[in-house]
């Protein structure tokens, strides 16, 4: 089973990396870009585990390990 987990800053937290990317894009003339937020993505391969279990496991490791709940939020999807 393949899972994708997206981790990004909460809206209330400033994202200087995203800002820098946005500025760079503006400098290069991409005026259509209004905002950029940068985050992390994890693609995880799970094995020997039922879908139900996976659906409990993923939020658990996201909360405990992959994201820091003070500054980050996460979101996930099963890929197949």
């Amino acid at each position: 089973m393949r899972v994708r987990i997206l981790v990004s800053f909460k809206d209330s937290v400033l994202d200087p990396q995203g800002q820098t990317v946005k500025n760079a894009l503006h400098t290069m003339g991409y005026a259509a870009v209004k905002d950029v937020r940068q985050g992390k993505v994890f693609e995880i391969e799970l094995e020997g585990i039922a879908r139900k279990e996976a659906e409990a496991l993923i939020p658990e490791i996201s909360r405990k390990v992959l994201a820091n709940p003070i500054i980050e939020k996460f979101d996930w999807q099963l890929l197949k």
Partner: protein
Amino acid sequence: MIDKTILEQHGLNEEEYRLIVELIGKEPNLTELGIFSVMWSEHCGYKSSRVHLKKLPTEGRRVVQGPGENAGILDIGDGQVVVFKIESHNHPSFIEPYQGAATGVGGILRDIFTMGARPIAVLDSLRFGPLSEPGNRTVMEGVVSGIAGYGNSIGVPTVGGEIYFNSCYDLNPLVNVFCLGLADKDKIFYAKAEGPGNPVLYVGAKTGRDGIHGATMASAEFGKETEHKRPNVQVGDPFKEKLLLEACLEVMDRGLIVGIQDMGAAGLTCSSTEMAAKGGLGIEIDLDLVPQREAGMTPYEIMLSESQERMLLVATADKVAEVQAVFSKWDLDAPVIGHVAEGGRIRAKFKGRVVVDVPVDAVVNLCPAYRRPSRPPSPLPGKAPLPALLLPNDYDRAFLDLLSSPTVADKEWVFRQYDHMVQVNTTLLPGADAAVQRIKGSRKALAMTVDGNPLYTQLDPRTGAKIAVAEACRNLACVGARPIGVTNCLNFGNPEKPEVMWQFEQVVDGMAEACRAFDIPVTGGNVSFYNDTEGLSIYPTPVLGVVGLIEDIRKAVSPGFKGPGDAVLLVGENKEGLGGTEFLRVAHGLETGAPPQIDLELEKRVQEYCLSAIEAGLVRSAHDLSEGGLAVGLAECAFHGRGRTGCSVSLEDAVRPDTLLFGEAQSRVLLTCRPKNLARLEEMAKEQGVPVKAIGRTGGALIAVDHRGRGLVRVKVEDAFHHWKNAVPDRFKVRTEEGP
């Protein structure tokens, strides 16, 4: 089945192929050909350079190990040795600046700790095209953060370095990294396979298809088309290297292994054949036991992969379990993949079949050496006469412009990205003439510097090389260190061009002459040829890394003025001539003329004078004069000094005022002392036959220079400081702040 195209792809010519067949007594298979191809490449085999490098002096009373091992070793007394070397990572850094530079640091670190030494300092010598080009900024930004990313993480301080900008590096930046380690003399390890039957262990990262040498082959053994997507760029894993470092040093410290070699260029091939050759034995490997990151790797790929962070060890059978326990403590596997064998052959099995069987001597020692044709370029660039130059009408302006030239300007933007203090030994912060690392538990300290002005070597390779050695030693003398050994990185264009070969010969000759004059052995180095893009070669760029010893750290001095009221002395003589100077480049847009000349005997006396004055405790600050000449030298002393004290100086020399301020005459040093010690210093100078003049005083808010009663320069230290300080960072601001 091995045809012309395949040979070409492997960078071998037909004659070399015939030699291989003769040496191994059979037609090589593709994997065997691959092995010869990398081991006989310029990079590993030193085909074009070997005959010339022999001219370098390599002996001295401190030398424990000269060229020929992973790094050179010098005895520094008290049972300790230093292990040091410099390496280039030019091409990878241009393709992918961050990873290229990062893995460059990783590689040189392994060369040091593979010998049993803990790396204690890194220095980087960098060359980029001008920062006015966005592409050059991107490369520089990537290279600097790559060096930082690797070095900071592994915990080895990057304590110094140098950077020059010139458009000859637009499409060919240079990244040379120097590393020095400290070891106990009785705990040095060599890349030697001993004891037939001894197990061979593989430790570190798994093998992937990284950086496999040569163009891809459309041959049967390679199969699918898709494989030509093989990335040639390796991603560094400093965390893994840190674990490897600690684990290797632990097994070495506990005496658990017999020999060890890092896997750098040509990976498993190079490490196994070199270890076997050094032990006069053979090695047998089972490729199925090699940890692999990807499925379906061929013997060719496994043997030639350049995956980073890997090592090969030889241990006795009874120690294997203990070795593995140490590695497992550091979360690393250490499988046995083969054993040392009699018979001097490298043999590899894959799925039960022998896929490699060749004599190691042929691979490692019998690579042909060429004396390639050489011819001086005509006209010789340094012989072209300079046009008549107008004197500047505003010396203050010319001075500030020079301070804002990135080559002269402050490089804090760079080194504040490097952790230069970890290991708590850094006694002089970056920016001084040389890095100084104290040795814990003793009064001794090590000083290090890397140097090489590429414009000098372009204009006159031989003189430029001599100056590089002299200047490096002078930098050491200015902190109070005596030079003890040299390593060097020779960056050149295509050696098949006779002009490039000529430059190379001249540089090696000049280096050899200067090292003999200073009586310092060359203990190793690296040669990087083929730095050409679109038919244009870079300037010949030798980079000298010199190590010095300070017997008593309490006597070391730094370049900054120590406050107002001190006497300023100029050691050496101001001379006419602006050829090859930074001033000529900045103010007149010229890179021509004869570079400064150097008298090695005078240079030696100047350095000895500085050292004896420092050792006698008479000197408050010392700084050598180089790019930008006297004016820039004075400014740097003011900038580095406490409270940014200024100075006023008056000169009487019969030379053009622009030359006086900005000329780069060699063998000059600025000293300061308390006024009461001036007479003693002048007396010592007379005794030692060194020209020394008291030229002024420290103090005030200005840098003021008078010439024969006329005020030449009157610049506020703060103004000058801001020009110098902001030049580099300002160039990097453009990108983020010039948005709509």
